[in-house]
């Protein structure tokens, strides 16, 4: 049985990775549909990627 800190660390990694994947998917969907550089989809996607990536980065720094 994994220790609680280990579970928390794994969950953080998985959820952060999921955010990045969602962000990439939003960006790809927007671009494929012909979105402009300031479209809502692109901005949201970039924010998702940054949030997920930032959390992943912090998780690896600890």
């Amino acid at each position: 049985m994994a220790e609680p800190p280990q579970i928390q660390r794994s969950a953080t990694t998985v959820l952060s990775g999921l955010m990045v994947v969602l962000g990439v998917a939003i960006i790809v969907r927007t671009v494929a549909a012909g979105g402009s550089p300031v479209s809502v989809g692109l901005l949201l996607g970039v924010l998702f990627v940054l949030a997920g990536g930032g959390r992943l980065f912090l998780a690896t720094r600890r």
């Binding site: 960006i27 790809v28 969907r29 494929a32 012909g34 979105g35 550089p37």
Partner: protein, 678 residues
């Protein structure tokens, strides 16, 4: 990013100075760069089947990765297939592998430089063609050569690793975005008419070309003597590298062939975009902002990655050539080390000149086809060697073993290596038959190399198939007429700037073997005077050193050089290294430089007594020599010769030792201690 040193374990590859990130950086730098120059050439030949070709190349890469990792962990010397062939077969086959891979390193250097100019042309169009392209290519090659002569710092490894990660993320992003935007099964498959578009011979040839992904393995195997990773790390490297090849190369080619499809049996990827194929993909996006943005981003990434891959190739080349020269497979003068940098500058300059000449025709198809010729020879010999070593050295510890082995004729036959060897043989024959460059230039290169080898070995009365080191050569002389200790061709002498420095240099001078080299005007033995900067753990290893320390090191090394070169036929090279521990640095440098002996002054033993003498639990302090000397004696893989200080008190005297003909010399090492006090 450097890993903390881990305790030694049974499955550790061994005593290492670099962390596993260097493996990652070297393997992936070649992989990431390969996309930028191989896609166009492969697509030009394989057309719609390009993704399938890269998928098969990924399979070949996986098989090769397993073979290289087993071979490099079995014999972690400098060099990849050349080392495997040495232990599995003989020196001639080892040379064949080494010479072929040497060609590949030079070609990779030329290809990376040439391709980088085409990506740089995004910012200034004339750079992509004609004289400006040539000038920039030569400038890149020169810069890489100078950088390699200056040395491979851990800081550079870190930068390379970061660059490679960023580049792989960019490439993966392009794959995802491109598949979502362009992918169409019909666009991909409609132009394919098996046997006609493309023709079978073109497909087979493209498969050979796709082996460009393999050179990273050679570079990584060349570093295997210095990297610290364990069994799990090696398995992970094999798996992740193979998956990365499959995802990136197959993914990019799927996007490329749907973004810039085959029309009328041709694709722009193999025509106007041949030398910068990734820019053809980025330019195909409908939105101008996206196409322009990606084009600039990928142009920058490509230039940086290609330059770093060229540097990585030069690094591999210098290590391989140095290894060949140490083993007397090429004239020793080629492997001569820079007096202060400790890098084989002669061979680096020679390789840069050859690479510069290869760039002149500005023909990427020719260079990549020729590259496949060398890569496949190295790969074939690597597979065959690992198979042979399963029978020749069945009991030797293998930190990593190729899986899926079956018992065959009393040994464990690795089936993946057998399959890899068969595929490599087929691809090699196809390249030889179908590519004129490989058929003429490749064969001429190999013939010239073998002729050089035969003449060089013959001039020294050395066997063509037996391993010849200076030590063995010295042993063949009349031992009765030779001073027992006067037989070392290369000696490492650590300098500590104390009163014994002159003594040890004189000792080393007398021990230096009289090694003649007909290609090098009867050059004598090489003494490598080494100064170790012990950097405390409170500072980074690359911290700025105080000027006083630098001056002290320079003065001591200059003095050592002057003293050592008073002896006839003795050349003294000086070098400095940074390390956390002097003892470990001396042992590592001795191994890296392949010296036959270490001559050092046994530093004054500590006068602090301990253990049982002071009522403690342990035994009496056995410090008849200091900690550095003790470490070197325990860990060195070559002979260690001590010039002992005069005992300042009876308690620190050494035990009696047998006399040697030298009178004031003694040798200690490898469990055969001999020591004479001055």
């Amino acid at each position: 990013m450097a890993e903390a040193p881990s305790p030694r374990r049974a499955d550790d590859i061994g005593h290492r100075t670099l962390g596993s990130p260097v493996l990652f950086a070297v393997v992936y730098a070649a992989l990431a760069a390969g996309v930028y120059f191989s896609l166009g050439v492969v697509a030009d030949h394989a057309l719609g089947l390009t993704p399938l070709i890269f998928l098969i190349a990924a399979l070949l890469f996986g098989l090769a990765a397993m073979t290289y990792v087993e071979g490099a962990s079995l014999h972690p010397d400098r060099g990849g297939s050349t080392v495997f062939a040495r232990y599995a077969f003989n020196e001639l086959w080892s040379f064949v592998a080494g010479w072929a891979v040497l060609l590949d390193y030079i070609l990779l250097l030329a290809v990376c430089a040439l391709t980088a100019t085409n990506y740089a042309a995004v910012f200034y169009a004339p750079l992509g063609d004609g004289l400006p392209e040539l000038i920039l290519s030569v400038a890149i090659i020169s810069g890489v050569a100078i950088g390699t002569i200056r040395g491979f710092s851990t800081g550079r490894v870190r930068r390379l690793a970061i660059l490679v990660i960023v580049d792989l993320v960019l490439q993966a992003g392009l794959v995802v975005l491109g598949l979502a935007t362009f992918f169409s099964w019909e666009v991909l498959t409609a132009p394919i008419e098996l046997g006609r578009t493309p023709r079978w011979e073109e497909v087979v040839f493209a498969l050979g070309v796709a082996t460009v992904v393999l050179i990273g393995l050679e570079s990584a195997a060349g570093l295997s003597g210095e990297v610290g990773t364990n069994r799990r790390g090696l398995r992970r490297l094999v798996t992740t590298a193979t998956v990365s090849v499959a995802v990136v190369y197959v993914g990019i080619s799927l996007v490329a062939l749907t973004a810039v499809p085959v029309v009328g049996g041709q694709t722009p990827l193999g025509e106007e975009a041949l030398e910068a194929p990734v820019l053809a993909i980025t330019g195909a996006f409908r939105q101008a902002w996206l196409a322009d943005g990606l084009t600039y981003v990928f142009a920058v990434a490509a230039v940086l990655t290609l330059v770093e891959a060229a540097a990585s190739a030069m690094l591999g080349l210098s290590r391989l050539a140095y290894s060949l020269s140490l083993n007397r497979q090429i004239p020793r003068g080629l492997g001569r080390l820079h007096p202060t940098r400790g890098t084989p500058y002669v061979v680096i300059v020679a390789a840069a000149v050859v690479a510069g000449a290869l760039v002149i025709p500005q023909d990427l198809d020719f260079l990549v086809g020729l590259y496949a010729f060398g890569a496949l020879i190295g790969l074939l010999l690597a597979h065959l060697s690992v198979i042979a070593l399963r029978y020749r050295e069945p009991d030797r510890p293998r930190p990593y073993t190729v899986p899926c082995s079956v018992t065959f004729r009393g040994g464990r036959l690795p089936l993946p290596a057998v399959l890899g060897a068969a595929l490599a043989a087929v691809a090699f024959v196809s390249v030889l038959v179908l590519h004129e460059g490989a058929r003429y230039v490749g064969v001429a290169w190999m013939a010239a190399g073998i002729a050089l080898y035969v003449v060089y070995r013959g001039s020294q009365d050395n066997s063509l198939v037996k391993r010849v080191t200076v030590r063995e050569s010295a042993l063949r002389r009349d031992r009765e007429q030779t001073d027992e200790l006067g037989e070392f061709g290369s000696i490492l002498v650590p300098i500590f700037d104390n009163e014994l420095d002159d003594d040890i240099m004189q000792t080393a001078g007398r021990l230096a073997g009289d090694e003649h080299d007909d290609f090098d005007d009867e050059r004598g033995a090489l003494i490598e005077a080494l100064w170790v900067f012990e950097v405390p753990m409170s500072l980074p290893i690359d911290a700025r050193l105080p000027d006083g320390q630098l001056k002290r090191a320079r003065t001591a090394l200059a003095r050592a050089k002057a003293v050592g070169e008073e002896y006839e036929n003795v050349e003294v090279a000086t070098a400095t290294v940074r390390a956390r521990s002097a003892g470990r640095a001396i042992v590592d440098e001795a191994q890296r430089r392949g010296v036959e002996a270490i001559v050092m002054a046994a530093e004054e033993p500590t006068r602090i007594r301990g253990g049982a003498l002071l009522g403690g639990r342990g035994g009496a302090n056995e410090s008849f020599v200091g900690a550095v000397t003790k470490y070197v004696l325990a860990k060195a893989t070559c002979q260690v010769i001590l010039t002992a200080p005069a005992a300042s008190q009876p308690a620190t005297q050494a035990p009696p030792a047998p006399e040697t003909p030298g009178g004031d010399l003694g040798a200690v090492g490898n469990g055969r201690p001999r020591r004479i006090r001055r």
